[in-house]
Amino acid sequence: MNSLLLVILILLAGAVLSFLANRIMPILSGVMSFLSIGAAAVIFFVQVSAADSMAIPISGFSLHWGINAYSWLFGAMVLGLSVFVALYAIAFMKGKDRLGYFFFNFNLTIMAMMGIVFSTDWVSLFIFWEIMTWSSFLIIIYAGISEGRVGTKYMIFSAIGGYAMFMAILVSNSLLGSFQIADLVSGFGTLSLGNQALIGILFMVAFGVKSAVMPLHVWAPRAYADSPMAFTAIFSGLLSKMGIFGMGILMISVFAQGTIGQTFIFSNILAWLGAVTSVIATFYALIQKDAKRLLAYSSIAQLGYIIVGLAIGTPLSIMAALFLAVVHAIFKGTLFMVVGAVERQAGTTNMEELGALIRKMPWTFMAALFSIIALAGVPPLGGFVGKWMLYESLITSGFGANYFLVIMVFLSSTAAFLYSYRFLFGLFLGQEEPEFDHVKEAPAIMVVPMVVLALLLLVIGAFPGLLFEPIANAMAYMGVDVNWNMTVLSNVWGDEVHMEPLWTSILVMFVIGATFLTFKTRRNTRYVTTKDIHTSGEIPEAHENMTFSVNFYQPFERAIEPVMKRKMDTYYNRIGEGLESLFGFARKIYTGNGQTYAIYVIIFLSILILIGETIFNK
């Protein structure tokens, strides 16, 4: 059997089996899901090769599946992370109700993502795209928070995106006579400018929604925050990457062929949208009280960088974007798992209530710490490599506006330190509260995936070449040649950063410092609680709340007040309300009086009589 089909079928079977397994024993559901994803991953990494392809004939056209270096990269990302998350999910979802429902959709989402990756024609891509959309919708509403409002918003935007893609696909098919992605790439340049713009914009909207680009992002924060965390790890880590996947095809291949592809219109507007997204989302992230929301906004911001990278379109920036995409999948997946673990163990993710979990959940904290360091882009972890390439590519791109773009990106990632710190501080540091004394470390089955992924980030930071290779292959497939050394970070001006001496230096110094402190001090000190602190002579009582966690960044909030006043969300809500009341008014046509309906008939008849000659006489 074709291995592509096999992967999809295994995942599908896993979905059905886990749905059924719930009837036997709830926990089996998660296990089924994990096993099927694991099996699929094994087949994917062992069996699948570029030679695999298949076609499914449907009346009028056929669906094509195949795999190439670019899709392999994303496929590996999806299955690689999914295995860990699925393992995590077994424990995370334990004891919740409707597990069959959850794991069915969970598996289906992953299947759909693999389908997207495997598709080499637009129709099958669209089919899987929509499957992904509705299955993820079903999970978002699983929690039932705020009764579908979040889900509806997600669905509306997904539908806008999905249908924009649908239209783009159909238009391009009617113009080029083919649904093949490759044919669009090769034929894009032959289209008229208007059609290029139409198709381009539609596709951009389509992928922009999933990758949460600026005006289309409003669904994301709540959707990310309100789904079960085991799924959000997938949702934010991978599902959004499908938008990036499409955007990559579009930006790297399609627009490169276009006659207007190189001009200002597409790439630069998109790049600026990405940058503005990342700045605004970062600002929102750092005023959140809820760790989930914080991460949700942070995801949007991170996606903004990736979009910027793709849109700039130099080899280095594309590599930066793809690198960031992979790294973001890992660290954001881990972080959402961390929050999930905290939520499960402590019962809340409100950073104003929580605190000082570091001693209770040390492994979780370690995973969180590494991921946060990667997120903030602080060397020496993987995140830095991506960020570095992004900045360098912007600076060396030789285009005036990009220099300001780099400032935007920089602003966003500097501000990201704020929420990174807030996240760690809010959950793991600060004053110990008596009500969280009972909290214990999460079960091993949850901790292991988190810690493994966190360590993976370390490895990527030390040996970015591991990731450069597949990315370079992917880019080569997409027609972008990468001809620099894979072990060193370097830009087109010939500047390089060697990670090894950096690592050596950091490690040596850190070991020296830590050893010094440990040997000379640690032994002599004893641990005291966080109540036992320097308070200018006053001794705080046990019940006194000394936690500083409310309005943590109030000064910063005040500084950025003008930006925060206008919320995209409110605009959409107003539009939505306006439309709804308009629609409510329009349906008053149906007055309920039968006679009125009869008059409508006669009016219609009269109008037709009067204008019939004109309209029918063509």
């Binding site: 009346s59 539908a159 239209m167 139409l198 709804e580 349906r587 008849l605 019939g612 000659e613």
Partner: protein, 495 residues
């Protein structure tokens, strides 16, 4: 006895006349016989359909031994046969569904089954007949059966809905009769094939007047805006299975006759654009009306109207691909909307106020029904991998090929509205907080079976559309082959 298209009319009528006598033998027979008849007709339709597809030739049956145009003839072509098969199939499922339908245990129960059978007969008759006046007669059969069924329940506002339906329906029949009068005065025949042959001799002004009358008259049946004021009321107040029948049979027959008039009988080119415009307006108005509905069945009704607008658009595009898509959509709409109405009825039964907001959390109490409803909702908005997706794909492909970009945009925007209200209900169904503990009316075995069959069809066709595309393609070819239709019917004259 060889099966032939006339069985679709003769057998149920015979049975209808027989049932009052059978009722004196056993009350149970009143329920069973219509089912047997409809089941038999489904078998007949399948046999005939295979025959038609295999030979590639339509079956033209003359009545009374008088060859067309002198006698009335029935045409069972790939096109009409497709619709008839669909209708009988749906009708059979509806019968199964309503066999033990709760409230039909009353004394008028026997009347319900006869009326329903006549509704089926009328709808299939409309599709099969080759004579315009005969079409009118069947339309009236359908209409009167529909009026009675709409007013079937006493505890609802059925009578009001039925009266509105009747008022507008009378307009439809009056306008159609007027059109037939004028048409007859011009061409001197009632056979549709011969009319099609002679229509070019009619003066343009007269032709347009006749056409206008036909369009308005049939537009009422096809739920075209602004002629569809009756539809939401009728859908929402009729018993559940009847709502299904409206969506799956009656409207299909209306659309069929409109399409027959536009495609076969007349040669007016502006009509296609007219269909597109009216279809678009219908769709937009219906969907935005559905958005703020609080009553589930009314929402489904508006959605149904919207889908019919979509069908009209597809027919209006007029290319082979578009007609193919339109027929596919008709098929899908019958199946999916059938499922939605069937499951929706149970949802409505189990809420005291029939309002959507009271359905919160019912998914836990009625898992099967809710699942079917959710499946239907996913399918009707055209999400893959369900059958609704393919028809949407094909229609939009045709629209794109004809460069109707704005039209595509409109359709897709309207689809978003559709998604909003369906998903709103779905979300509430599963994840709302249950409010009350009404006495549950679990679906009957027949109901589950019928819904299960429909759900299976939706999924199977969604995954493998080629099961039906062959039939639909030949149906579309047949519809567009106007000369072929005329030839096939009129060649019998010379025998």
């Amino acid at each position: 006895m060889v099966v032939s298209p006339v069985h679709f009319i003769a057998v149920p009528l015979l049975a209808a006349f027989l049932i009052p006598l059978l009722a004196k033998v056993s009350k149970e027979l009143v329920r069973i016989v219509p089912g047997l008849v409809i089941g038999y007709l489904s078998v007949v339709s399948v046999i005939l359909m295979t025959q038609v597809v295999n030979t590639g030739q339509p079956i033209i049956e003359v009545i009374g031994g008088w060859s067309p145009p002198f006698g009335i003839n029935l045409v069972f072509s790939a096109f009409t046969g497709f619709l008839v098969s669909l209708m009988t199939f749906m009708a059979f499922l509806i019968w199964i569904y309503s066999y033990r339908f709760k409230k039909i245990d009353d004394a008028p129960a026997q009347k319900y089954f006869i009326l329903f059978m006549m509704l089926v007969t009328g709808s299939t008759g409309i599709v099969l007949t080759g004579d315009i006046f005969n079409l009118f007669v069947f339309m009236e059969i359908t209409a009167i059966a529909a009026y009675s069924l709409t007013a079937f329940y006493r505890d609802r506002d059925g009578a009001e809905a039925a009266f509105k339906y009747l008022l507008i329906g009378s307009f439809a029949s009056a306008l159609m009769l007027l059109a037939i009068v004028l048409l007859y005065s011009q061409v001197g025949t009632l056979n549709m094939a011969e009319i099609a042959q002679r229509i070019h001799t009619v003066p343009q002004g007269m032709k347009i007047t006749i056409f206008t009358l036909f369009v308005v008259g049939l537009g009422i049946e096809a739920e075209m805006f602004p002629l569809n004021g009756w539809a939401p009321d009728a859908y929402s107040q009729s018993p559940g299975p009847v709502g299904v029948a409206f969506a799956a049979l009656v409207v299909k027959a209306g659309v069929y006759s409109l399409v027959r008039v536009v495609f076969t009988m007349f040669d007016i080119h502006g009509a296609y654009e007219f269909l597109i415009i009216m279809g678009a307006i219908t769709m937009v108005i219906a969907e935005i009306s559905a958005l703020k509905q609080t009553n589930l069945k009314r929402m489904l009704a508006y959605s149904s109207i919207g889908q019919m607008g979509f069908v009209l658009i597809a027919f209006g595009i007029g290319t082979n691909a578009a007609v193919f898509g339109a027929l596919f959509l008709m098929f899908n709409h019958a199946v999916i909307k059938g499922l939605l109405f069937m499951s929706g009825s149970y949802l409505v039964y189990n809420t005291p106020s029939k309002e959507i907001k009271d359905m919160a959390g019912i998914g836990k109490k009625l898992p099967m029904v809710s699942f079917f409803f959710a499946l239907g909702a996913l399918a009707i908005v055209g999400l893959p991998p369900f059958s609704g997706f393919w028809s949407k794909l094909y229609i939009l492909m045709a629209a794109a090929d004809a460069s109707f970009y704005y039209l595509m945009g409109t359709i897709l925007i309207v689809s978003i509205i559709e998604i909003v209200y369906y998903f709103r209900v779905m979300g509430r169904l599963y994840f709302g907080k249950p409010q009350n503990d009404v006495v549950l009316q679990k679906p009957t075995l027949g109901g589950i079976f019928a819904m299960g069959v429909l759900a299976t069809v939706i999924i199977v066709i969604g995954i493998h559309p080629d099961f039906v595309t062959g039939f639909i393609q030949s149906a579309a070819d047949t519809l567009l082959d106007k000369a072929g239709y005329i030839n096939n019917v009129l060649q019998l004259t010379n025998l």
